[in-house]
Symmetry: C2
Subunit: 378 residues, 2 copies
Amino acid sequence: VALSLAFGLPDPGLFPTEAFAEATARILSDTRVATTALQYGPIKGYPPLLEMLAARLNATEGPGISTENLLITNGSSGAIGLAARLLLDDGDTVLVEAPSFVGAMSILRYSGAKLVPVQMGEDGLDLAVMGRTLEDMARSGVRPKALYTMPTFHNPTGLTSPEAARRTLLELAHRFDFMIIEDDAYRDLYYDVESGSLPPSLYSLDTEGRVIRTGTFSKTLAPGLRLGWALAQPVAVDRMMLLKEEGGTSPFSQAVAAEFGRDGAFETHVERLVEAYRAKRDAMLSALERHFPPQARWTRPTGGFFVWVALLSGVDSGVLASSAREEGVDYMRGERCFAGTPEPGNPTHLRLAFSALGLDEIEESVKRLGRAVKGLVG
Amino acid sequence: VALSLAFGLPDPGLFPTEAFAEATARILSDTRVATTALQYGPIKGYPPLLEMLAARLNATEGPGISTENLLITNGSSGAIGLAARLLLDDGDTVLVEAPSFVGAMSILRYSGAKLVPVQMGEDGLDLAVMGRTLEDMARSGVRPKALYTMPTFHNPTGLTSPEAARRTLLELAHRFDFMIIEDDAYRDLYYDVESGSLPPSLYSLDTEGRVIRTGTFSKTLAPGLRLGWALAQPVAVDRMMLLKEEGGTSPFSQAVAAEFGRDGAFETHVERLVEAYRAKRDAMLSALERHFPPQARWTRPTGGFFVWVALLSGVDSGVLASSAREEGVDYMRGERCFAGTPEPGNPTHLRLAFSALGLDEIEESVKRLGRAVKGLVG
């Protein structure tokens, strides 16, 4: 396949490769820093990176966050894995959005927990459905231990839930006594800041210590560093630290990230990413307008990497995938993003990632995909 | 404490820091390589590192090892954790040497398995005791799922078990149907090659696919890279790969290691390490001769980082630790290395690491520790 909209990879052209090379050279030429970066390090994380992150989260998430609330992990997958190990045992129930992030669902399944999907609406998780699900479960004596959710720039839908919905969700968590794993992998990549600020994270609205928020440098620096974090109450951080069994996340990678980010360089870099990814998002939305038929609806994400397309007239997902392949383009088939079997009559969904392709490639791939779709919807 | 014999850290003075800096610069200046090193990578590992490792293991361990037998992990702790997750469930029994590596025991405990210690003799695991333990367990209907063992340069004792004992152990594994996690973290650091070659690893003697061998670059390159591996049958490798939930080990670290090790540089570096650590081992053994009283016995390791000292006359371990601290020296108290409570009458043990200190510091710290010991035994 010549053009792929399937994978939510960051654009390698936006990696700060040269700055990483400079940061590495600086680290390794200072004997004291080199020794720290190359020796075993604290399981919690490399102190300068923890401090940089705490300062940044304090500025963006409101005060009160210190390094005590943080644990550096191997990407946000590492943080989700530790949260799952902390919260879930064999036979427990965990709620997930329908649709949800495929990688996280597979991590949650490792814990032995049962995944129960909760339908999403136009604004994220459908809280009416969520309430009914919780009541039904309570009647059968089931208390879900946790919800895994991406309220901001959701994968795969691109949706962001408003503040009021977040508050309602926290009330449900209180009433039905469950914890929340808030996956906030894309928060830094917000493209519409002029139309208002982002709703606060669930973590920052939570007053009961119910939220473990996971974050990552994979979208802002580079996935190859394998750096993410968990943001949580100190007691949860300490317990996840005990579960972290692989001798800690690479101090070398962490030192490169911390050295790279000094003196505001991280913020400058994120601004550059926002510009670049905004243009890609815009290119995809306008290409969809031009090339997709009226039977298609799609989300208009204000951040992140994904647009979620629904085909309202019944199109067989397998037939569409083959037809797209013939056009030389692929995407992620939506049904893969559901924990259960999507209900019959559910529209055929496509997750389109605009992150990795160039602007012309986005135009071309959406055009080809539109041709495949039009050939099937009539 | 001014001088510490407590931690088995590699000597940071032996890190190939400059060569790492050069390797990183080369990687990041080549766009294609930089993209691979900074992007998400295969869970199995960075292909050039897998190939380097397979070639090296083929040369040192006998033929038949390919990348299909390998999984790159976050240090050998990561490999031990994956092996534990693969082999052990809640309530299972796992055998461990008494004494054993503290870090591994804590990883094995995360799996929910019960640790049953098996006494060591002069030559490693006491196979007569092991046989009786297995028979007793069989009579009570217990089948241990696995043994965790370090047959080569054991931590904490420094012992290496001979080939015949290894073959007997594999027969026991066959007869009582258990798997073996062979932790071979120190194998490259063999100091007495002129007195004969090392016994083959359990992995290379095994004909039944019972051995998962774990290895690491932490002792030979630098712990801060967090690079280790599991060497096993492809079916076990594939299953551990599915359990690896953190998006893979850093491709960036792996690319640095692979680039560093090109054209035989890894072997040349290991030769340099062997020279340096051999001198430290010799310095410690001769300092023990000079400064320790006749009531002390110690092992004479042919590789690795540790000497294990037994004080044959009853010395209270806590009193000795305080007394040593007053002398400005510390060590690892031997009782920490036992899964159960050491039996009453067990000698007081000390694990002394000679890896991190300079030659003069080894002499000085053993002298001080000898003073503390003499003050209590005589």
